[in-house]
Symmetry: C2
Subunit: 480 residues, 2 copies
C-alpha cells in the first residue's frame, strides 16, 4: 500500500489526492488540445498521449485503497469527481460507496444506473448492503433481494430492521463458532480448512447446538494453549454481550473502556446473532463527534463540500431561521427601552458587551454539562452540586469581569453610575447563564432529547434577550 | 464482568455508578449514627453493621474493571471520590489513573504519598508510565527510573522523549518478532511457549538480525496456513509503517481508513521500534473530538466536574478575556454612530439582528471548512471553488432572510428605507461572514496553527463589529 506510506510520511511525499489531481490536470490539458485541433494527424498524436495519460490515471486508481478513493472523491469538484468515479472498477464500487460520506454517496449513486448499482452490491456482505440501502432506489433493492441466497437475504432483512444508532446497525455476521467439547488441536485444524478468516477475528464464539453463546475462545489463548486441552477449559465466559436494540453509544463506550476488538451480539435468549467489530465502532465515534460539531454550528447534517448552492442553503436554513426568531425577540426586548436609549445613547453601545460575555460563559457551562451527561456522570444528587459550583464560578467571574467592564465604561463615559450598572448587569447575566447552562441540557435530557443539539443556540438566546433586559432595565431604574 | 452486562442492558439494571452511590450512602448513613451514639454498646452494633457495609463496598469495587472505577471517580464529588479512591487496591491504582481524565487524575495523585505512587507504577508498562509521567512529582519519577530494569528504563526514556500528539506518544513496546526463514509450525510452537500474548496482537513482526522490519505475518494467515510453509511465503510486506515523529492524527486516519488493529512503528532505517494499537487510537480520537468541542466553547482544557470554583475560573478566563476584548471593539464601533442612534433609536434595536445572523452563518461556513481541512480535502485549486460556493450561498441566504428582516422592520417601524437598509446590511454581512469563514481557517492552517481553535471566536468578532459597522454606516448614509 504505497499510498499508506505517503499518508504517514511527513508531507515530503505527495498524498494520493495530490497525485490524482496532478494526473487529472495532465489529462484534461491534452483533452483541451485535442478538441482545439482540427488537423486529424495532430489530434491523432494527442489522443495517443491522451490514451496513455488516461491509463496512467487508471493504473494509479486501481492500486489505491477504497478508503483513499473515497477521500479523493469527496475532495474533488463535481465534474472531476464523476470522471474519477467512472474510472473505478465495478468490483470496488461498493466498498468505495461504503467509505464516502452520505452527502457525497448521494451524488455518486444518482450518477449510476440501476444495473451498475446492483452489480456494485454483489461484492458486499449483507450488513454492508444494509448500510447502503437507505440511499438505494427501491427497484435496486428489490433486484438485490432477489439476487441474494436465502441465508444472506434473511441477514439483510435483519440488518435493515434495526434502527440507526442501535447496536444492530453496527453488527456484522462474520462469526466463527465452535463447540466447547473439542480439543484445541481440532479447532486449529478446523481453522486451517478455511482459506481465510474474517477481519478482526480476535475470538471464536463457543455455542451449543441451539446456537446459544456459552463463551468465547480468545485467539491469543488458543495460540498459547496445549493442543490437547479442551475448548471448555480455555474459553472464558467473562465477555461482553451486546443486544441488537442497545443504543450504539453504549457499545462504543464498552469498546473504549474495555479495549475490545470484537464483541458478541445475542438476542434475549443468548442466541448468537453476530458481532460488532472495532473498525465499525471507530467510524461510529467519528461520525457522532462530527455530527455534534455540525449541529452545534447550526448545520443539519454533513454537507458535500461541493454541493450546489441551493442544496447547501437547504441544509443550513433551519438553524438560521431559529436564530432569526431569537434575534427578533432580542430586538423587541431592546425596543421596549427605546426611550431610555434615546435619553442615554451610550446604553446602545454598551449592551452588546453584557450579552456577549453572558453568551460565552453560558456556552462554557453548557459544554461541561453536555459532556458529563454523555459520560453518564450526572445523577440527581450531583446535579445540585453542579448548579452551586457553576453559580459560584459565575459570581467570581461576574465580579472580576464586571469590575473591568465597569472601569472601562467609566473611563469612556466619565459616568460612575453607568459603570456600576454595567458591573451589576454583568454579574446578573452571568448568573442567568450559569443557571440555564446547567438546567437547559438537564431538561432536554429529562425529556429524552439529545442535550447536544440546540442547547448552545438556546443559551445564547437567553443570554442575549436576558442580558439586554437586565442591563437596560437596571439603567432605566437607576439612571433615568 | 458483570458490570459490563449492566453497561449494555437498557437501563433496567443499575450502572456501576448507581450501585456505588447506593452503597456509599448506606455506609455514610450508619457512619452518621455511630458518631451520634454515645452508648458504647449501641455504637458497637453500628460499627459492626458499618464494617459489613464497608466490606460490601470494597468487594463491589474489587470486581469492577479499572475503566469503570475511573468513570465512577470522575462522577463523584471530591469527598466521596477520595473515600472510594482509598479503597482501590494498590495493584490497580496505576490502571485506574491511566483511565481517568487529566483533571481528575490530578486530584487523585495529590492525595497519594510518593511511596504509593511508585508502588502504583510497578504494575504498568514503560509506555503507560510515560503517559502518567507529566502528572507525577520529579522525586517519584526518579525512584521509578531507579526501580526499573535497564531495558524498560530505556523504553521509558524513549517514550517520554516523544512530543504529545506524536505517534511516538501512542506507541507501546509489546511486539512479538519472528524471522522469515522459519516454518509456520515453528512459529506456533514458539508462541505456545509464551504463557500469554500481548493484547491486540493481530500480527507478528518479521525482522532480520538487525531488527529491520521485513514484513508482517497476520495471525489470521498464520492460522489458515499449512504448518510446513515458510514465514517468508505467507508474510506480507504491504503494511503500514508509522514513524515516531508522525503526527498522531495521521496514524488515527490510517487506522480509521484501513481498519487496522495494530500498526508497526519504525525509525528512518526501518528498524522496528514498537507498535500502535487500536485501543490507544480510539482514546486519541475521543480526546481530540472532546478537546475541539471544549475549545470551541472557550474552555482551555477538560475540567473536573467538581473542580473547586477558583480552578474552574482559571480554566475559563482566557476565552472570556478574548471575548471581552472583541466585545469592547464592537462596542466602540457602535460608539462611532451614537449620533445616528440618537437621531433614529430604532437602529439600536435592529443592529443585533444583523450581527447575530451573520455570526451564525459564518460559523456554519467555518465548521465546514475546518472539517474539510482535518480530512485534507482542500488544496489551492479547490479553495477558490469553495469561496465562490460560500459566497453564492451567502447571497441567496442574504436575499432570502434579508427580505424577511426588511419586511419585519417595515411592519414595526413603518419605514421602508429602514427596511431596505436592513436587507442590504444583512446581505453584506453574510458576504463578509462567508469570505472570512473560508479565509480564517485557511490562514490559520497556512501558518501551521490548528484551524479548529479560536476560529469560531474570530468569525463572531468579525461579524459583530462588521455587522454593526455595515448597518449603522448604511443607515447614516441613507437615512440621516
Amino acid at each position: 500500500m504505497t499510498e499508506t506510506d505517503n499518508d504517514n510520511d511527513q508531507d515530503n511525499s505527495p498524498t494520493p489526492l495530490q497525485q490524482v489531481t496532478f494526473l487529472l490536470r495532465k489529462y484534461k490539458l491534452v483533452e483541451g488540445l485535442v478538441n482545439l485541433q482540427d488537423a486529424p494527424d495532430e489530434s491523432l498524436v494527442h489522443s495517443a498521449v491522451q490514451k496513455q495519460n488516461l491509463s496512467e490515471l487508471q493504473h494509479f486508481l486501481d492500486q489505491l485503497h477504497p478508503a483513499d478513493i473515497a477521500v479523493i472523491l469527496e475532495a474533488l469538484p463535481m465534474e472531476d469527481r464523476l470522471l474519477i468515479w467512472s474510472m473505478v472498477k465495478t468490483d470496488r464500487d461498493g466498498e468505495v460507496l461504503l467509505e464516502t460520506s452520505d452527502a457525497v454517496r448521494e451524488t455518486l449513486i444518482t450518477d449510476m444506473g440501476n444495473h451498475e448499482l446492483v452489480a456494485a452490491t454483489e461484492y458486499l456482505d449483507a450488513d454492508e448492503i444494509a448500510d447502503l440501502a437507505p440511499d438505494l432506489p427501491q427497484e435496486v433493492m428489490d433486484d438485490v433481494f432477489r439476487s441474494l441466497p436465502v441465508e444472506e437475504r434473511e441477514q439483510l432483512r435483519a440488518a435493515m430492521s434495526y434502527p440507526e444508532d442501535s447496536v444492530g446497525a453496527l453488527m456484522d455476521f462474520d462469526v466463527i463458532t465452535i463447540r466447547e467439547d473439542v480439543r484445541m488441536e481440532v479447532v486449529l485444524r478446523y481453522l486451517r480448512m478455511l482459506e481465510e478468516m474474517p477481519d478482526h477475528t480476535d475470538q471464536l464464539f463457543v455455542v451449543d447446538r441451539n446456537e446459544q453463546l456459552k463463551g468465547v475462545l480468545l485467539i491469543n489463548r488458543l495460540l498459547v494453549s496445549d493442543p490437547d486441552t479442551l475448548v471448555a477449559d480455555v474459553m472464558t465466559n467473562e465477555m461482553i454481550k451486546l443486544h441488537p436494540d442497545d443504543v450504539a453509544q453504549q457499545a462504543a463506550n464498552a469498546f473504549e473502556r474495555y479495549d475490545l476488538v470484537s464483541a458478541s451480539v445475542v438476542d434475549d435468549n443468548d442466541k448468537l446473532l453476530g458481532r460488532v467489530t472495532v473498525n465499525t465502532v471507530i467510524d461510529f465515534i467519528r461520525d457522532k463527534a462530527e455530527n455534534d460539531a455540525l449541529n452545534l454550528a447550526g448545520l443539519s447534517e454533513e454537507e458535500d463540500l461541493f454541493a450546489p448552492v441551493l442544496k447547501s442553503v437547504q441544509n443550513r436554513w433551519v438553524w438560521l431561521a431559529v436564530n432569526l426568531v431569537t434575534a427578533f425577540i432580542a430586538s423587541r426586548v431592546i425596543g421596549l427601552f427605546e426611550d431610555s436609549i434615546e435619553k442615554l445613547v451610550a446604553l446602545a453601545a454598551l449592551m452588546p458587551i453584557i450579552a456577549g460575555i453572558g453568551g460565552n460563559s453560558g456556552n462554557q457551562t453548557i459544554t461541561m454539562i453536555v459532556r458529563a451527561l454523555a459520560l453518564d456522570q450526572i445523577n440527581t444528587s450531583s446535579a445540585w452540586k453542579l448548579i452551586t459550583k457553576e453559580v459560584g464560578v459565575s459570581i467570581v467571574n461576574g465580579l472580576l469581569w464586571g469590575t473591568i467592564v465597569g472601569l472601562f465604561t467609566f473611563a469612556i463615559y466619565q459616568n460612575a453610575e453607568l459603570g456600576l450598572v454595567m458591573t451589576l448587569a454583568l454579574v446578573l447575566n452571568l448568573l442567568l447563564a450559569a443557571l440555564l447552562g446547567v438546567l437547559i441540557p438537564l431538561t432536554l435530557r429529562k425529556f429524552g432529547r439529545d442535550p447536544a443539539i440546540g442547547s448552545s443556540v438556546m443559551i445564547t438566546a437567553v443570554t442575549d434577550s436576558g442580558g439586554f433586559f437586565i442591563f437596560l432595565g437596571l439603567a432605566t431604574v437607576f439612571l433615568l
